[in-house]
Amino acid sequence: MEKLLEVKDLHVAFPSKQETVHAVDGVSFEVFEGETFGLVGESGCGKSQTLRSILGLLKQPGRVTGGEILYKGADITKMNQRALQKVRGKEISLIFQEPMTSLNPVLRIRTQMYEAFEREKLTKEEKRQRAIELLKLVGIPSPETRLDEYPHQFSGGMRQRAMIAIALGAKPKLLLADEPTTALDVTIQDQIMKLLNQLKQELGMSIILVTHDLGVIAQMCDRVAVMYAGQIVEMTDTVTLFSKPRHPYTYGLMGSLPNEDTAGTTLEAIQGSPPNLANLPEGCPFAPRCKFACDICHKERPEITEVEPGHFARCHRPEITQNFQGLIQVPGQADGKEEASHE
């Protein structure tokens, strides 16, 4: 598979008079053609800022303070607005979390859709045909009439579909999706996930999916990076992550999810709350909440290491994490180790 996007040691900072918040602190990952890559983490872990910096869309006063974002070999962070404009939409496109606020309420859906293929110099009729096709593709019934309506006439799920249609307008190679289903009901979330999976297959796109929901990750992603306090703490393929997590944070997240068997029991919650990004502890940022933390964890920042081929984790204690049992068992894999760490 071709490498489509490569993020190398990305740093994003939000300076202010009192303090500087390092929202993204040395993030590196790669996205290959035709794959869905997930970024998962809690609010404030830097996952959305990582995504936004790919398109140069950081909100003020945020800026990229270090690192490279290579799209097909060209560094996006060094591009001027003109060059960026050529990448946006045509090559890389973005869908936002809130379909309620990210469509313009005073413009008809068609006007907002036509913007996506403005540069192609189509005739009015061609534009309309193209827009109708796109709305059909994302499953909006009677697109001919829907096209002339305003966003308020659409329901939440329909707006999200319309937004996906706009994002696909210029046939991007890479779709960035920032919590695309979070604001929707489960039944609608189910439909949108199905739609995105199907579009990926049909159009051969890559997707970077940002979410806080491990369920969405499990259902959609090929590879995943787990983020905590601006850093990637674990990165591997989805099946391995769910069967053999190698970072105490990932393991803790899985333990804190209620499931079929937990009724009536106490959940293994992670204690405490995420650290203040302007004032991180000296050692591992997760150490104050980690039940396996020892002296070195409080003193030194761990580096990200390859604990198994293709499986990266940022933890000082691989001898403990190797006994973690995930949420699923992979059939055919001999289960040599006992479920030691499952109390």
Partner: protein, 329 residues
């Protein structure tokens, strides 16, 4: 949950309709008054010490039902009985006396606390207004409540803005418990929180519920949480309850096609199992012009002619398991 427990709350054919605006044209043409039937003919019982989950898509009337029961809304018709006493038409001082018995935990810990009141004042105000304890005992009671919610007295003089979402939700819980209510409505208490914090609050809620023998109406759209914490579940669709039953039975053997869809729609935490075997088409219709017959019929895969014309009654299909469907699964 056992029927042997005493009945705490009885809701009988409760309706809450909101009148829609009529244009001058409608009046001239003598059109009938139109209503948004947010809650339409809902009946159920809540037993003492149980945790009843209330689930459904957004806009199905979950919150309106809860607010009508708490008498934050005036019911259009039907009755609500708390400990055998009809509270559906109480007014003024009577209602005020009733308030301490029923409290609410809100969804959004950011907007449900007054940013200009310290934690201490937020909780002490409740105690003062309702004369729960003599003034001299207020500090002790506040401390007790904060400890109970996993906070300490050190934070009492601080303001909500200084806290994270999880801590604010704990303050909200302490406030709801301050009047020793018999009945608590928890309206999406963990939806706004991060996963790791969510688990802490879920643990706190279930601990408090057992220790204080609270009766809880737990509203949530997250079925994993509902399955974990509740004893019984009620499913609502377009203002009516379509199924009620013990939690495990609802999840293992859903009888209403809508319940089946809901329980299967939540994404499974298993990347090896990606079959979206049963997805539902379409979205809930507008509650203003509800479909005839069974309201779910336009989206139901098992729909027949009978469903299009006849409204199904809520019937008992197994002990304690009620379902409103002509052809329960």
């Amino acid at each position: 949950m056992s029927e042997s427990r005493p009945l705490l709350l009885e809701v009988d054919h409760l309706c809450k309709w909101f009148p829609l605006k009529r244009t001058i044209g409608d009046v001239v043409q003598k059109k009938e008054k139109a209503y948004l039937k947010a809650v339409n003919d809902v009946s159920f019982q809540l037993y003492k010490g149980e945790n009843l989950g209330l689930v459904g898509e957004s806009g199905c009337g979950k919150s309106t039902l809860a607010r009508t029961i708490l008498r934050l809304y005036e019911p259009t018709s039907g009755t609500v009985k708390l400990n055998g006493q009809d509270i559906s038409h109480m007014k003024g001082s009577q209602l005020r006396k009733l308030r301490p018995q029923m409290q609410m935990i809100f969804q959004d810990p950011y907007s449900s606390l007054n940013p200009r009141m310290s934690v201490y004042d937020t909780i002490a105000e409740m105690l003062k207004v309702h004369n729960m304890v003599p003034a001299s005992e207020i500090p002790a009671r506040v401390e007790e409540l904060l400890t109970m919610s996993g906070l300490s007295m050190d934070i009492a003089q601080r303001f909500p803005g200084e806290f994270s979402g999880g801590q604010r939700q704990r303050i909200g819980i302490a406030r709801a418990l301050s009047l020793k209510p018999a009945f608590i409505v928890a309206d999406e208490p963990v939806s706004a929180l991060d996963v790791s914090i969510q688990a802490q609050i879920i643990n706190l809620l279930s601990k408090l519920q057992q220790e204080l023998d609270l009766t809880v109406l737990f509203i949530s759209h997250d079925l994993r949480v509902v399955r974990h914490i509740t004893h019984r579940v009620m499913v609502m669709y377009l203002g009516s309850n379509v199924e009620v039953g013990p939690t495990e039975e609802i999840f293992k053997h859903p009888a209403h096609p809508y319940t089946q869809v809901l329980t299967k729609a939540a994404p499974k935490l298993d990347p090896l199992n990606r079959q979206r075997d049963y997805a539902i088409e379409g979205e809930p219709p507008s509650p203003i012009n509800t479909p005839s017959g069974c309201k779910f019929h336009p989206r139901c895969p098992y729909c027949t002619d009978k469903c299009r014309t006849e409204v199904p009654e809520l019937k008992e299909i197994a002990p304690g398991h009620l379902c409103a469907c002509h052809y329960p699964l």
